[in-house]
């Protein structure tokens, strides 16, 4: 809720990932409820028939087929040419989206730091399992997309991802709809998409989410709220200033008002959850004071993102 007075910004990967966390993350791999076509050959079974060691099916030979995949044993028995099809193993595309608006940079602990850490942890899991990891920061920029990294693959890219995450500086306002459009347009392949934000968009989250879904992504909506947003520590006559659009609201904090606020917050989260459920998105609300390992190992594993 309240702007973090002296936000701690991660300087490097050590601030984002501790060795204990890495130790906990190493056994994990990403998973998706959906099976996507990969772009590169990876460690994930693909829908495509390909050249893995796992047999998938047979099909009659047709002219032009690679003769190397003819099942000669069947030809010997049946005197017909059958092609031996194998399951293709492909990589998984992981798209991580972080909200870099000013509103993210508040709360104690900071929502933004929490999101940075979550992205780094998930990115690490993705990279070490040879998945294609891309990340984008929504923020105040033309097109509402602050910066992005694409197609990172392999353990060697971890530092690259870390330095990108550390380079992010929250601030300003953006249009979620616009940002979502850009992300959808520049997508590469299909895969997992995790959107970290508080989803407090004045224009509404629906338009943006609608643009993200339906392009082959398995979208996870992770709403990060600070403890202060859930339990506002406010009293007195206040002029609340929206740190994004500098909108103000004059309130006199009273018990009924707080009750009303909490009810509104619950309803908002409920609305977001319902919206996501209707569109096969997975929604989840986390507090920014949740430890990252709890988030990854408990909450996300339960929802099948990591296994």
């Amino acid at each position: 809720m309240l702007k973090t007075a002296n936000p701690t910004r991660p300087k490097g990967i050590d601030d984002l990932l501790t060795s204990e966390l890495i130790a906990k993350l190493d056994p994990l791999d990403l998973s998706s409820k959906k099976v996507f076509f990969g772009k590169l050959k990876g460690e994930r079974r693909s829908k495509k028939r390909g050249q893995s060691v796992e047999f998938a099916d047979h099909r009659p030979y047709s002219i032009g087929d690679d003769t190397r995949h003819i099942d000669w044993n069947i030809y010997a028995r049946l005197d017909q040419l059958f092609m031996k099809l194998f399951l293709e193993e492909e990589d998984l595309s992981l798209q991580l989206i972080i909200d870099c608006s000013a509103s993210s940079d508040c709360g104690e602990p900071s929502k933004f730091l929490f999101m940075q850490k979550a992205i780094m942890a998930l990115g690490y899991v993705g990279l070490v399992n040879l998945n294609r990891v891309g990340a984008a920061a929504m923020g105040e920029a033309p097109g509402s997309l602050l910066s992005a990294v694409r197609d990172l693959r392999g353990r060697r890219r971890v530092h690259e991802l870390a330095s990108w995450v550390c380079s992010l500086e929250p601030g300003g306002d953006f249009s979620f709809k616009e940002a979502a459009e850009r992300i959808a347009m520049t997508r590469r392949g299909k895969g997992l998409m995790l959107v970290f934000s508080d989803f407090f968009f004045k224009e509404g989250f629906e338009e943006g989410l609608r643009r993200l879904v339906g392009h082959g992504y398995d979208v996870y909506v992770i709403q990060v709220l600070s403890p202060q947003e859930i339990e506002p520590p406010l009293t007195g006559d206040l002029r609340l200033k929206d740190m994004e659009d500098l909108d103000t609201a004059e309130v006199t904090i009273s018990a009924p008002l707080l009750k009303r606020y909490k009810a509104n917050l619950a309803a908002y989260c409920q609305q977001l959850a319902a919206f996501c459920a209707r569109r096969e998105m997975t929604h989840m609300t986390v507090r920014s004071d949740t430890p990252i390992d709890v988030l990854i190992l408990d909450y996300l594993r339960k929802r099948g993102i990591v296994k």
């Binding site: 002029r239 609340l240 994004e244 909108d247 004059e250 904090i253 009273s254 008002l257 009303r260 509104n264």
Partner: protein, 758 residues
């Protein structure tokens, strides 16, 4: 509800309320807090507003509470007061009747009988309590009141003031007197406090430039002179009646003692009594002579009657209509009871006569007792008129000296027939010698037959007319030429029957009688048959051969008792020191000595002249309320007067021996005592101290008829008694408003805490 200082409240409100509102707007400058989003807050506010119809009110409940507090404080500043009945008019005159009838014990308070005056005082104090108070800031706006106590005289006990304590003290200090009632002076006294309104520089009687008075008369309505009292046309008069109209009273209304003409030792005491009850009543009349019971008589007093006064039917209807109109005008509801008889019943009159042998002087007291029991009358509300006193001088025959240069046989013959103690003939030098010796007191009356002291015959020197052109240049002392008359040549103080001569001076004062010398034959034309001197004298057919022609100047103390065709022939001339009857003609030169009326005249003239000396059977009767004024022999020292109640008081005699004490407030026996020569009727003790007694009695029919009257008819308006309990003490509301403001402040604190501590 009255606001004492509403302008202050209005001014304060015009400043304070906008100031509070401005403060409130300033207070809306809230603390800035940066939040991630105002989305949910705005929604919450909107929800709250949508859900709570009184949200606006609730939002500003603190402002409203503060406005309430401020309103309470401002209203308190206005000092509102509530009273059950508004007392209009800002100037009140409290006229408190303290006359004898106000001592009647027919008011009740907590089961005990209290006097009417006490009840009236209580009502008056309630009125004072109900007066509007000045605010804290402007005392001028307060109601003012004045306290006047009246009996036969009026006295301002407290000038106009708004000091309620002073007013209450003044009311409390009023004590009852035993005098008749007269309200006219009281109302004139009140009116004198008003400034007359001037119209074109001329003061207009009855119109005041001040606020008109509201006069509150606290009385029992027994006000005989009410018809003379005329309050101003702008003044409001309210009559607060005390006492009941059923009050029963038996009273002594008159007493007289007489000595028989032929036997002065035989003393008759006449007592007349009245009964205002509608039932006949028997009373014992007790006679006490010098403190010893001397007789008792039972008398039945008839009931009071309305027989002679019953109004005819149309008159009664008219009177009732008039009364109803007055009631309506006065805003008093007509009583439910059947129309009362508007005329007061005439009291039943009775009397008693005591005869006793007593030559010496005595103090006679008569008191009324219950028959047979000797206890004071039961059911009689007014005790003070149940006894009466008389001072009966000793039975003394007159001592008369005839001063004449020659023997007057007619005169001496006539006088010798009278029961006198002493009849002396004095020559003028003897008289003058006695005057020088100061032994004139041996005689009660001197008859100066054809002789006057030389000084009495000389006119007072007249100041020469001031030369014109120098008005006021000379002082009067310088203008009056020296008086060459020696004091011993003047007529000394005393009582004189002057025959055949006319004094131009009575002592030092001019007699105002002009002697025009001897005139012609004349005969009597007219005489005052009602005068005590001539009551039993028939002067018809009196012829005078040689008479002095006499004229009376204006301002003269002389009064004509009889006149002939040429002018006055019998005059009564009295000054403070000298009492004289003047017969200007020579008796011997008329046929009067041959007429029986001459002897009768001589008897009544000497009796009349001596009467003032106290030799009459009933002298020195004073009614409370009047002033004891008498002359005591010159040279008296250490004069004191002892009232019936209380200690003796010192008096100073004037140069001519006159002492004045009073006005008397109590009935009873007063005595004036002094060291020095005593008069013929004074008691003299061994130490040379002379005492003279005076009896003060109420003896007032109106005052003793104690039935309280419900209407008082003043000259200008008729007053109907106000219903009781009209004055309700005002209650100051501002302390309550302050309390309310405090309560609201506490409520505000509570509300604020409820709001903030979630």
């Amino acid at each position: 509800m009255t606001w004492l200082t509403w302008p202050y409240a209005a001014i304060a409100a015009s400043i304070a309320i906008p100031a509070l509102l401005i403060l409130y707007f300033l207070k809306l400058r809230r603390r800035d807090v940066e939040v991630s989003t105002t989305l949910l807050w705005k929604k919450a506010i909107q929800d709250l507003q949508a859900n709570a119809p009184f949200q606006k009110l609730r939002r500003n409940i603190l402002l409203i509470l503060q406005l309430l507090v401020l309103g309470g404080l401002l209203a308190a500043l206005g000092q509102p007061q509530i009273k059950g009945q508004t007392v209009t008019g800002a100037r009140h005159v409290i006229l408190l009747d303290r006359s004898a009838s106000m001592s009647a014990m027919d008011e009740e308070e907590r089961g005990e009988k209290v006097s009417r005056l006490d009840a009236a005082k209580k009502q008056a104090i309630a009125l004072v309590e109900s007066l509007r108070e000045g605010g804290l800031f402007d005392k001028d706006k307060a109601d003012q009141a004045m306290v006047i106590a009246f009996d036969s005289q009026a006295e301002i006990r407290q000038q106009l003031t708004s000091d309620k304590d002073a007013l209450k003290r003044a009311i409390e200090a009023v004590t009852p007197t035993e005098t008749p009632t007269a309200i006219e002076e009281a109302i004139r006294l009140a009116k004198a406090q008003q400034q007359k309104r001037k119209v074109e520089g001329v003061e207009v009687e009855g119109l005041t430039s001040d606020v008109p008075f509201t006069m509150h008369i606290y009385s029992d309505g027994c006000i005989p002179d009410a018809g003379k009292a005329a309050p101003g046309p702008e003044d409001k008069v309210e009559f607060h009646r005390v006492g009941t109209s059923e009050a029963a009273n038996v009273a002594i209304v008159g007493m007289r003692a007489e000595r028989s003409f032929d036997n002065p030792n035989r003393l008759s005491v006449y007592v007349s009594m009245e009964n205002n009850q509608t039932l006949a009543r028997s009373v014992d009349v007790e006679l006490i002579v010098d403190g010893q019971g001397a007789g008792i008589k039972t008398t039945t007093l008839p009931a009071a009657s309305t027989d002679g006064l019953t109004l005819s039917a149309p008159e009664a209807a008219r009177a009732a209509a008039q009364e109803n109109a007055t009631r309506a005008a006065a805003g008093v509801a007509a009583p439910d009871e059947a129309p009362r008889n508007l005329v007061r019943p005439t009291p039943g009159v009775g009397g008693a006569v005591f005869s006793l042998e007593r030559g010496a002087g005595a103090i006679v007291q008569v008191r009324l007792r219950d028959p047979g029991s000797g206890t004071p009358l039961t059911g009689d509300v007014l005790a003070l008129d149940d006894s009466g006193w008389l001072v009966v001088p000793p039975a003394k025959r007159l001592a008369i000296a005839v001063v004449s240069p020659s023997k007057n046989l007619f005169l001496l013959t006539a006088l010798q027939g009278l029961p006198l103690s002493r009849l002396s003939e004095l020559s003028p030098p003897q008289f003058q010698q006695k005057a020088l010796d100061g032994t004139l007191g041996e005689y009660d009356v001197f008859i100066l037959d054809g002789w006057l002291p030389p000084g009495a015959k000389k006119p007072l020197p007249v100041a020469p007319a001031a030369p014109t052109g120098t008005p006021g240049a000379e002082t009067p002392a310088a203008a009056a030429p020296a008086d060459d008359v020696k004091p011993e040549d003047l007529l000394p103080p005393g009582r004189y029957l002057i025959i055949g001569d006319v004094p131009l001076r009575l002592g030092q004062t001019p007699s105002g009688i002009k002697d025009l010398g001897f005139g012609e034959v004349s005969s009597i034309v007219d005489w005052r048959r009602d005068h005590p001197l001539l009551r039993s004298v028939n002067l018809d057919g009196l012829d005078i051969a040689k008479s002095r022609k006499v004229e009376i100047e204006s301002g003269s103390p002389a009064a004509v008792l009889a006149s002939s065709d040429t002018g006055p022939i019998i005059l009564d001339a009295s000054t403070a020191e000298i009492r004289s009857v003047i017969i200007p003609f020579e008796v011997a030169e008329s046929d009067w000595p041959f007429n029986v009326s001459f002897v009768v005249f001589m008897a009544s003239a000497t009796g009349y002249l001596a009467d003032d000396a106290g030799t009459g059977a009933t002298g020195r009767l004073i009614q409370p309320g009047s002033v004891l004024s008498d002359r005591i022999p010159s040279g008296a020292a250490d004069i004191s007067v002892k009232p019936p109640v209380g200690d003796a008081q010192k008096l100073q005699a004037a140069a001519d021996g006159r002492v004045v004490f009073g006005p008397l407030t109590r009935s009873g026996v007063y005595n004036v005592s002094w060291k020095g020569a005593s008069g013929p009727t004074d008691f003299q003790d061994d130490e040379g101290r002379a005492t003279r007694f005076y009896a003060a009695n109420l003896f007032d029919t109106r005052e003793s008829d104690v039935a309280a009257s419900e209407r008082v008819e003043l000259a200008s308006k008729v007053l109907i008694a106000e219903s009781e309990g009209s004055a309700v003490a005002d209650r100051r509301l501002w302390p309550w408003l302050l309390l309310a403001a405090l309560a609201i402040v506490m409520l505000e604190w509570f509300v604020y805490n409820r709001k903030v501590h979630v």
